[in-house]
Amino acid sequence: MSFHRISLTINGELEQADISANMTLMDLLRDTLIFTGTKNGCAAGECGACTVLFNGEPINSCLVLAVECDGTEITTVEGLGRDSQLDPIQEAIMDAGGVQCGFCTPGILISARALLDRNPNPSVSEIKAALVGNLCRCTGYLRIIESIQEAARM
């Protein structure tokens, strides 16, 4: 097995790690760099709990190798918002009652942030399509969809 030294920017800070080829970005974030906000729900690219931004684009970090992330910019849920100010989408999802158990929430927030960045005024069907890779079992999605519409207005 090959080992690699990588450096990447996470939430604006430069990080470095020595990793094995088969380590996923999710493992790097959670186990090595202790960004535990990103969650492991299936490790197979289906549930979206591990969603982070990779050079601004949402990806399933469980299906990306850490070695592929050398030189990239990663944003996790911990990187949303600025200092102690929450991102509008974080405020909105709280206000709308779109958080229950909270396990899907980090992935949802990342997908929502990316959606609003590329489409500042999405329709309900555009929101649904953007979230289809983030499974939620508690809320039934409706309040999450509302919260994204609300954040778009902020």
Partner: protein, 782 residues
């Protein structure tokens, strides 16, 4: 428990969740997020590849000597039985494996990879036995026995196993005279329904970390709905004292019942006992989650019901075969709960019910949201529709006539307490526009509306209790100790609301002591059964009142006044008589000086409270009749409007309407959120979900082929409505609603599909393929 109106706030207000900010910022710590450092060992489980087999020998020697392996255990190491209502399970299988996935051996190693390598080195010799994969067959005398020593198992007094059989519980209702009632019926409907196994699919898989210290005290961290029950059951199984074990329960990423009782947690603890000092983590993979964690048992249900020409239900005859899986230590009570609820929320004078909990070589059936009610109502509420149609009566009118009203006699002979079921029915029918049919959105679509009622009581032992403490600090602020877990349903927030209201402080002053920790948190039976708002709520109110009384007694003595003239408002002790006031922060730790300055009164204020219902009676084992079978029933209604695509059979839910009688909504917005979330989980089980079991093997143990509802599947809107008919012993009249919103969805959708295209299926999921092929069979499409 009636508290005057002025004390109600913040009860009744939609306060924001107290744990929301932590969750949205990514700071909330779940079980797999806890850092244990380099000492952490990783566990993996060797699982039976056969649904039914005798274990002839296990050779772990090669695994034990694999570098990095710190412990290998098998059933030989742990002879104790474990179980909630019936002790039929070992921590690791001993004489035989009873389902694919049954734990045979466990390994702790320095990495997951090494643990997995070690599993491959364990040699097991099996003698494959014939698997039982059908519940009716399993209940028959021809079937091989899965638990030949069933009659030796310890069992709760209200569970009735049948010796020399696979029936681990048999519950009967014999009320009135069904045999002679049929001839008085104008219409009779007889149907069979097959409800498949499904799984809870919490987005957070099960996780448990266990550590045993030098003195032998065990600490278990886990994603858990039931820290106290886990401590109790695991301690008993290991032959240790409950107080020698500590359970810490951080945030839970979805439970729905799967994280109640004991499932995989005992495996982590057992392995940890062989690795003194080091923590051992067991994290289920998603694949394991689908077939080795609790699942919702399957059901084969036979209904027969009849009514007179005016639509009055006269008789019901039900037979339930619960495909309960390899171990039914928890599932036995589903058999009972469905039995004592087997009429649905209707008054029926003549009832015969036989409810059987049947062992099969299938995954282990455990508690899942609804505890038998979704499975039962799925068929029952369709039969109600069919009976109405048989006498040409509108389905809502039929339910209006028959649904339970205050004082009606129930299936167990008990009386119905005040209930808003009729209101739920009316509000739901109106919200969905009952009686008006909308135009289909396209020529290849057909539109339909369907409605269903439901009821459910908390299914639990008659003496399940709650306790709470309330402590104040030098700043006058309050910490509430509870043993009930927030799974997302919001109990931490409503506990804070209730404490604030009962004590007299602002909501923002109240914190809840989390994470739950059996060392410091007060006892709570389990977070299940939708019982917390009511039971834990009462305990919290009692604890807050205890603290309040201590404060008022102290102030009364210090001010030489009567406590009845004093109150606590907004964190201030006030006298209505003298108009004196004193902020709490000045007195709740250091007390107050005696009137003559000759000493001090009071001291640190700490309130305690408990609640345990004292009125649940037993039920006659032959007839299922009793004075008071349950604490109460929550009732409700749900309706859907949907479209069926004639070209594909796809069912699209356009909108939903739903009303539940919660007695009192402590936090109305959270109640609405439960109603919406349960609707979607119910819809998901109705349209997509089934564990595809073939010869005892789950064919679809992954998200690829076990589909759940995504954002794209939700209706345009769900109108959720709250009805409040007070529960006499609930805090401010409250009763629970967490499970109930998932119960009527499957039959409401089934009834709407029938309204749209005139077909009914033998059971969910109502996949496009099943709907299409049924339409083809019935000539609706060619």
């Amino acid at each position: 428990m009636v508290v005057s109106e002025k004390e109600a706030k913040p009860v009744g207000e939609s306060k924001p969740r107290i744990d929301a900010r932590e969750k949205v910022s990514g700071a909330a710590i779940f079980g797999d997020d806890i850092q244990f450092g380099n000492a952490l060992l990783h566990a993996r489980i060797l699982r039976s590849p056969h649904p039914h087999a005798r274990i002839l020998s296990i050779d772990t020697s090669k695994a034990e000597s694999h570098p990095g392996v710190k412990a290998v255990v098998t059933g030989d190491d742990f002879p104790g039985y474990i179980g909630l209502y019936l002790l039929d399970r070992h921590i690791f299988a001993r004489d035989r494996a009873r389902y694919v996935g049954d734990p045979i051996a466990g390994v702790a190693a320095t990495s997951e990879l090494i643990a997995e390598e070690a599993l491959e080195l364990i040699e097991v010799e099996y003698e494959v036995l014939e698997p039982v994969i059908d519940a009716e067959y399993g209940a028959s005398p021809d079937s091989p026995l899965i638990h030949p020593r069933l009659e030796e198992y310890q069992v709760a007094s209200f569970i009735l196993p049948q010796p020399e059989s696979n029936i681990s519980n048999y519950f009967k209702i014999r009320k009135g005279d069904t045999d002679n009632a049929w001839e008085k019926c104008t219409a009779v409907v007889e149907r069979k329904y097959r409800i498949p196994h499904i799984q809870h699919v919490p987005i957070e898989p099960h996780v448990a970390v266990a550590q045993v210290d030098e003195s032998g005290e065990i600490t278990l961290w886990g994603s858990s709905q039931s820290p106290f029950a886990q401590r109790n059951l695991i301690a008993q199984a290991l032959g240790i004292s409950q107080s020698d074990m500590r359970v810490i329960a951080p945030y839970v990423g979805g439970g729905f019942g799967s994280k109640a009782g004991v499932s995989m947690e005992s495996l982590a603890v057992a392995i940890a006992t062989k690795v003194k000092g080091r923590p051992v983590k067991l994290l289920l993979t998603r694949e394991e989650e689908f077939f080795t964690a609790f699942v919702r048992q399957g059901l084969i249900a036979y209904f027969k019901m009849g009514c007179d020409e005016k639509g009055n239900l006269l008789a019901m005859e039900n037979k339930f075969y619960w495909d309960a899986g390899a171990y039914t230590e928890y599932g036995v009570n589903i058999t009972r709960a469905s039995g004592y609820s087997s009429t649905g929320p209707y008054e029926v004078p003549n009832v015969t019910t036989d409810s059987y909990c049947v062992y099969t070589n299938h995954p282990v059936g455990g508690p899942m949201r609804g505890f038998g009610m979704p499975e039962m109502h799925a068929g029952l509420e369709q039969c109600i529709d069919e009976l109405a149609a048989a006498i040409s009566m509108d389905q809502v009118e039929f339910r209006r006539i028959n649904c339970l009203k205050d004082g009606d006699t129930l299936v167990t002979g008990s009386k119905m307490h005040p209930t808003g079921l009729s209101q739920c029915l009316e509000k739901t029918a109106e919200a969905i526009g009952w009686g008006h049919k909308g135009e289909p959105s396209a020529p290849n679509k057909r539109r339909g509306k369907g409605l269903a009622l439901m009821w459910k009581a908390p299914a639990m032992p008659p003496n399940a209790g709650s306790s709470a403490w309330v402590e104040l600090a030098e700043d006058g602020r309050v910490t509430v100790g509870i043993g009930g877990q927030d799974l997302g349903q919001g109990v931490f927030t409503v506990a804070a609301q209730m404490a604030a209201a009962a004590l007299g402080v602002p909501f923002e002053w109240v914190k809840v002591a989390t994470p739950l920790d059996t060392r410091y948190s007060p006892y709570e039976w389990q977070t299940v059964a939708s019982r917390l708002t009511w039971s834990l709520g009462n305990a919290v109110v009692n604890a807050a009142k205890d603290a309040r009384n201590q404060i008022l007694d102290m102030a009364a003595e210090a001010w030489q006044e009567e406590p009845e003239n004093l109150d606590i408002l907004n964190g201030m002790v006030v006298s209505y008589k003298s108009e004196r006031e004193m902020p709490l922060k000045d007195i709740v730790i250091y007390g107050m000086p005696k009137p003559d300055d000759q000493g001090w009164i009071g001291g640190p204020v700490i309130g305690r409270g408990k609640f345990m219902p004292d009125y649940v009676t037993g039920l006659d084992p032959e007839t299922g009749q009793g004075e008071r079978a349950v604490v109460h029933y929550t009732t409700g209604a749900q309706a859907v409007e949907l479209e069926v695509d004639l070209d594909t059979g796809q069912v699209e839910i356009l909108r939903g309407a739903s009303a539940f009688d919660v007695g009192k909504a402590i936090n109305p917005d959270m109640v609405l959120a439960q109603i919406e979330g349960g609707f979607v989980q119910g819809m998901s089980s109705a349209l997509f979900e089934a564990l595809d079991l073939k010869d005892g093997y789950v064919q679809n143990p992954s998200f690829v082929d076990y589909r759940i509802a995504t954002s794209s599947d939700v209706p345009g809107g769900i109108q959720a409505m709250i009805v409040e008919v007070a529960q006499d012993d609930g805090p401010w009249g409250a009763r629970g609603v967490g499970e109930h919103s998932m119960v009527p969805t499957t039959p409401a959708i089934a009834n709407a599909i029938y309204d749209a295209v005139g077909v009914r299926l033998e059971g969910p999921p109502f996949t496009a393929e099943k709907v299409y092929l049924k339409m083809l069979e019935e000539g609706v499409v060619k």
